[in-house]
Symmetry: D2
Amino acid sequence: MTHSTPQTVMVAAHTKHGTVVYANDFKFDLYPTLGDKPNFRRLAELGEEGITALIVDSTYAKDHRKMPSESVARELLKDVLLGTNSSGKAVILTTFSSHIARLKSIVELGRKMGRKVIFLGRSLSKYVDAAEEVGLAKFSGQVEAVKFSKNIKRRLKKLMDEGTEKYLLVVTGHQGEPKAVLSKMASQDFGFRFSYEDHVVFSCTVIPTPTNRMNRERLEAAIKASGARIFRDIHVSGHAAREDIRDLINFLKPENIIPAHGDTGMTSALCELAEEMGYKANKTVHILRNGNLFKL
Amino acid sequence: MTHSTPQTVMVAAHTKHGTVVYANDFKFDLYPTLGDKPNFRRLAELGEEGITALIVDSTYAKDHRKMPSESVARELLKDVLLGTNSSGKAVILTTFSSHIARLKSIVELGRKMGRKVIFLGRSLSKYVDAAEEVGLAKFSGQVEAVKFSKNIKRRLKKLMDEGTEKYLLVVTGHQGEPKAVLSKMASQDFGFRFSYEDHVVFSCTVIPTPTNRMNRERLEAAIKASGARIFRDIHVSGHAAREDIRDLINFLKPENIIPAHGDTGMTSALCELAEEMGYKANKTVHILRNGNLFKL
Amino acid sequence: MTHSTPQTVMVAAHTKHGTVVYANDFKFDLYPTLGDKPNFRRLAELGEEGITALIVDSTYAKDHRKMPSESVARELLKDVLLGTNSSGKAVILTTFSSHIARLKSIVELGRKMGRKVIFLGRSLSKYVDAAEEVGLAKFSGQVEAVKFSKNIKRRLKKLMDEGTEKYLLVVTGHQGEPKAVLSKMASQDFGFRFSYEDHVVFSCTVIPTPTNRMNRERLEAAIKASGARIFRDIHVSGHAAREDIRDLINFLKPENIIPAHGDTGMTSALCELAEEMGYKANKTVHILRNGNLFKL
Amino acid sequence: MTHSTPQTVMVAAHTKHGTVVYANDFKFDLYPTLGDKPNFRRLAELGEEGITALIVDSTYAKDHRKMPSESVARELLKDVLLGTNSSGKAVILTTFSSHIARLKSIVELGRKMGRKVIFLGRSLSKYVDAAEEVGLAKFSGQVEAVKFSKNIKRRLKKLMDEGTEKYLLVVTGHQGEPKAVLSKMASQDFGFRFSYEDHVVFSCTVIPTPTNRMNRERLEAAIKASGARIFRDIHVSGHAAREDIRDLINFLKPENIIPAHGDTGMTSALCELAEEMGYKANKTVHILRNGNLFKL
């Protein structure tokens, strides 16, 4: 299944009492930038065989559209990295460390920019090493990765001597986490200083919790105080929107639907979608809470 | 200059007291889908020569990013038209009639879908005829255009007999205007009926006035009541965001900046951007109102 | 029970299978301005006897407070009518025609202002006549009521000759309904013209639908264009907030709770409140839809 | 002048070039609960004499109403303290330490509740001691005040032994400041534990910064986890709204207006109000920034 992390699957548990499909963390992307398209044929087959219950991601069930393809995110990144003038400036980008497809696009674009790509931060190394180990993507030889604070500090110092404009720096800390690389760069803990109109690209959204909002506001204020430029929201989500979910329900035609992976506003929106499609609340679509046991 | 309508220019008025640049309605798009890239060399030259005042678009000055390229909009459209399953269903799309670049992408995608493209509505014909006349784009031979209500009614009737799944219908009425084609289709004034899970694609945003919000809400309610699917916001704006504007100011280095084309929240945001870049409020950046006369 | 309309009751249906309490349209107001306080002793007795199910108003279940007393609304009105300078100006007020307690406060305040109170509009007469007939409040002798358009027009004409500053006009049309009295005054259909800095008081909130928002925006624009002053939101709701509902649940200790009178966001909020108090979703608190049949 | 702190004045600087009035931090309250009404006669006199410039508070210039009187806040407090059932429960209230009028109402209501009032926290003592010293209000004899952490801890311990239901605790920390008394009570740093359904009353609003929002969210989550009840927003602001400002301008008829005490959205709203009243942007109403020097 396509999602923001590779190797995502949708699980069908075949029991003697019927088949239950567990479908959190997916979107339907026919133009993925890494890995295969979703296997629609198998979904249709499962629908033919009969599904007793579908447990399904409701994160963006309110959003009346199809979640855009990861190839749209690549186009957004191309536009911001190659379609703006960064000559003579540092370009620093931050994104989800687990988003291997995104990182792959970034490395390719870094090459087109004629810049050397460096990954700074522990979690980046952890994920790309794992991806490389299982043969999903190849970063070694193309990317220099630095894991630990002491080494990052040393590497940034050297890089400032060589000229930051030769590099595309990919760093941890997209939610403004105070101990991640980007926050430490902004607070000059690493000896690094942003120069006037350096580019800082957020290839993510702010996950809307008060802590993240406060951390991001502080981080962005520090970046702006240094005179650097900010490019926000260069991102597409990996979660299904309303019309992806409708497609899934049409493929599987489950007897029962259980909205999951969302607060009550999100699960209610999915409930309404199911009702549009002929399901009945509390009869064939069931809003549960964590810990509820539901007997079919 | 790149914008959502073709042939957009940025005007430099050379007077004996200095040069004034009038820069509403633009964005910096290095990957346009129709027409040339912006002429950055000329902007830099103008900056060298000296600019007394820049009157500049503030619509998206609050938005900390570069406005994405029209090629991102094309990618979004491709994803929604080719990346969803519409076999056996009508596909109806609505967008700005003046957006020739968008219409060109839509016609190309219609061909890839194997569907015949029909334009329904007067303003669509008016704009595409004009574009064709001046040699900007070629629609004739590729698109059938129907202008008037009586003919639209007749054409829709015929098309329902032939099978709506053979067509991509491009129609007027993206803001839910009650007399435009889409509203009349939804209210069955044309004898047309949406079938279950027909696709309706809005390649636009809602321009946020109370009238538009009410019209769109009514239109979407009618569409949903018919069982059709809605895909919203398949769109990228033609107006500069904060980082495009910063680039323009860097090119021109004007002595004075006058934020325009926005309410007080928007012009204030542009004022703050100018202050970040060293301008002084009420000294070198001036917030005016319509009708104010400003002497330099 | 206290609410924005008089004579509100909470219904307990005693059946052989148990007692069901139907509690929409109430708040707990210990300082009502008309009628009695809620009968808490009876609620406690019912709780002792045992309640099988409580169907309960969730409109403001999200709102972490007690809904303020109607005596707060009276204090707000006093402040806006007696605590601002309206000498020489017309004062026009609009509120819910069914809100007899509010109308009573308005009439008393009108007297303190030394102004004659006139009710303009059919629905006002309908409600106050009914209230007077059943002995709830006495308006006749204190208020002149004019029902029909022709008479309203004539009365407004006369009143403009006598001097609008002698009157407190209470009119229909608080949601901006185009055919109600206030909209017709604003559009000069009645021959009436607002003078500069006349006072227009909205003793209500905008019920948040797109139609109301558009109607109110148009109405307020017309009023402002005439130079009159607007005082919004001089109002307190008649619906229970989260802490009123908690008190009700504590009194009744029902076995089952069924949130009602709200969209999914509201019923979900009430569900969460019940869970805070030890109820279990889908076991003892049940979110239903209109038309659902629920067997206990 | 009436405001949320006592002894507020509006300053008129009489110079040989004209009179400048500085009017931040005020509202027009004809029903104050402490101190005198505004001196409208003197304002009218100043207007007669002629005012060159008015520097004026724009905090709530967007808000189309008169700011309600402090007597409305007292009515709200009465409703929440006397109009809810808190028998057997602790009642903890937090508000601005400088708001002497509010604290006076709280002490009076505490007496009506038959509870002993204790002030916990340093800043409360600092302000009430000062108020008492200058003869503004008398708290000593009626309120026990505890300043320092060690003593607060000891007092809370004793109070838990005696029965928290005998007390009304007024504490610091309304914005969720982590080191203030309320946060430390919630995190059990003082050895205090909330009991099920204790009342916590916020007689304030959240000042909307990301830090406050995060602090308040954390504080409220801790309070709710303990099972206590929260009553929010029992408050009325001390700053003028649009219609108070209009009255001030009508009294003073200044030649020039300079909106102050607000971000660009707020000063722009005041600018629009002035334009409604015949002033001209950049001619007689001037939006400045901190540090701007403005020559009349």
